[in-house]
Amino acid sequence: MLALIPLLPFAGFLVNAFFGKRLPKSVSGGLATLVMVASFAIAAMQVLALMGMAPENRQINQTLFTWITAGDFTLDLALRLDALSAVMILVITGIGSLIHLYSTSYMHEETDSEFARYFSYLNLFCFFMLMLVLGANVLVMFVGWEGVGLCSYLLIGYYYEKKSASDAAKKAFIVNRVGDFAFILGALLMVVTFNSLDFVTVALAVKEMPVEVTFGTLSLITLLLFIGATGKSAQIPLYTWLPDAMEGPTPVSALIHAATMVTAGVYMIGRNALLFEHAPITMQIVAIVGAATALFAGTIGLVQNDIKRVLAYSTVSQLGYMFLAMGMGAFGAGIFHLYTHAFFKACLFLGSGAVIHALHGEQDIRKMGGLKKHIPITYWTFLIASVAIAGVPLLSGFFSKDEILFETFLHGHQFLWGIGVLTSLLTATYMFRLVHLTFHGEERFNTAAAPGAHAAHGAAGTHGQIPDGEESAAAAAHHAQHTVHSAHPVHDGHGHGKPHDAPWPMATALIVLAIGSIAAGWINIPHALGGHANLTAWLEPAFNATNCGQPVTTGALAGIAIEDCLPGEGGEAADHTSLELTLMAVSSLVAFAGIGLATFLWLKNKQIPERMAQQYSGIHTLLMNKYYVDEVYDATIVQPIKVVSTEGLWRGFDVKIVDGAVNGAGYLVSGVSIVLRLLQNGSVKTYAASMFAGVVAVLAYYLWR
């Protein structure tokens, strides 16, 4: 039964991959969506069954077959549903279904075969993602881990005829390889250390071990796994692929690069919670990297002009939050944020997709504005999600973000808490900058090219580079040939081609996700606000190998306090109610301050940001160019590798040494032959003479020796 959850999307993939060309769009898209909905239904049933069990043995196992047997090491292809993977499969299949539904409308201008290709990739992605979260051991997880990487590559490069898209796909794949290599090393070290890859076996073995105060094997394993997570989950230093990944179709950005795949690293840490808890050094690194990424990406997000790129940096930043929580040992808070983030970020991405759809491929927020009255459904859902991510009280983002900040403060990391609050301010600011520039203010978009360009929006919909005026004018001129409307294509006002709001499949997905953005947090209302922290309590056994009774020794490393049991329990939270309430008030104020700041700067006094950009042009250029990280990587890693490869390995080693050895052997033989072949002169008598001389020589040797 458990296996059906991933296998249904896989079946959808097979059908669309092999017969998609011949299927009409309604069938291929409908089938892909249907398998996801069915998968969601089964997942929900399984989770309900799980809820019926006693908390300490909430586990559903299914072993499909024995995969590897080598000596005393065996490995099964096994699936396991527990409290943690339950949250994940509901997010994946639930939000996945909505995004499939949305895609049937968003991608409707593709040809039949391209449409089916898109949905087959999307189904395949869901299959691998479900394998990742349901895998009962590291290797099954790794299969999913690599599989989602593949699908991410395929979908980023979906418009593969566009150079920027195929480049971005390659970049994502290669950057992920770096992390995956570390992940493999970590898994191998796990085999060597524990002789098992099963999460529960490892967790139980770790439980008996002391916390590693100095850097040792456990720290190394966790550090390697975390490097893998930085690749998949776009953390410093391997985050650079995610903003470029926006070249893919927008629903893909929503599903893969916001809601599911990029959270795999967070999930992986949660899955190995006990292991990480025993390696405080790694935990500290995780927390610092997470906080640094959150702030770093937030500052970049503040100045970007591409609607999807702002959201991409926002995703990187929010993932940083999750890692901060994980590094604090607040696994429940991290997963909670993962879960709420999936709703509002998917909603934001889908909303941005609806905006791009309405504007026929325009992604530059400087060319938007005033869309509120044209596309109300998109506007309201986008606004709700923005409010949620900004951390306005009682929406989902508020609860999860606050829990992370509270845990950070509670563990005595005031500095990291400060970074978190600052990032929270940035989040609210850049999100409302986006809202204001896109939906409020004067209309800056150009509807002239609209009627003709409509047909092209699918392909143009993911321009990573902001198309300049010339390009759109050229496009408009091009379409003028086909369209009576575009007699004088540029600057002819709003007479026709008005932005149209999302059609029903897109609107449905947006509305459901917006409701989720509001309400998703309510399942984990903290005790301080009179709630029961249900999600944290639900997740707890999963992080402790089903048993919370046995205390984990407190981490002795300075500043790292690892709690006996996972946080959020009744007794402990009660002790800190006033602190928690204070912190909540602070972050609520920060959220409103951010929104107010954004409104002041980008709605009321638009000249101020421009003047600031000029006044601090150094900082502005630095941020616009994303701290030149790509350039630095290019100069320090890519170019040296290229130089070493071309000059050293190719022109040096291959041409001179490898080819030299092969050609040298040839030259040697032919050189010697030039001399030796003179002996073969064709004269029988010479041959006879040499034979005779040879016989005489041999005889002489034996006679006179």
Binding site: R677, L678, Q680, N681, G682, S683, K685, F692
Partner: protein, 99 residues
Amino acid sequence: MPIGHYLVLSGLLFAIGTAGVFLRKNLITLLLSIEIMLNAVNLAFVAFGRQLGTNDGQIITFFVMTVAAAEAAVGLALVIALFRHRESLNPEAFTSLKW
């Protein structure tokens, strides 16, 4: 009769054959010279066999004669083929099989 006489005669015949191989310019004569060399060796074999009181020398002589017959057959066939090809029996005319 001492064995030395036989061996001297054998050596002389062998030297005559060798000289023929190197000095004559006719392929058929060359083959004849080789026959003389083979028979010189045969004579030595028989002489040694008699000296040692065994039949080995005579037996191996039969082998040599058999091989010589085969060699003569193949050799003459080749000579005829070569002659048809070049209208010459001079071994110096057949030097195209070289580098």
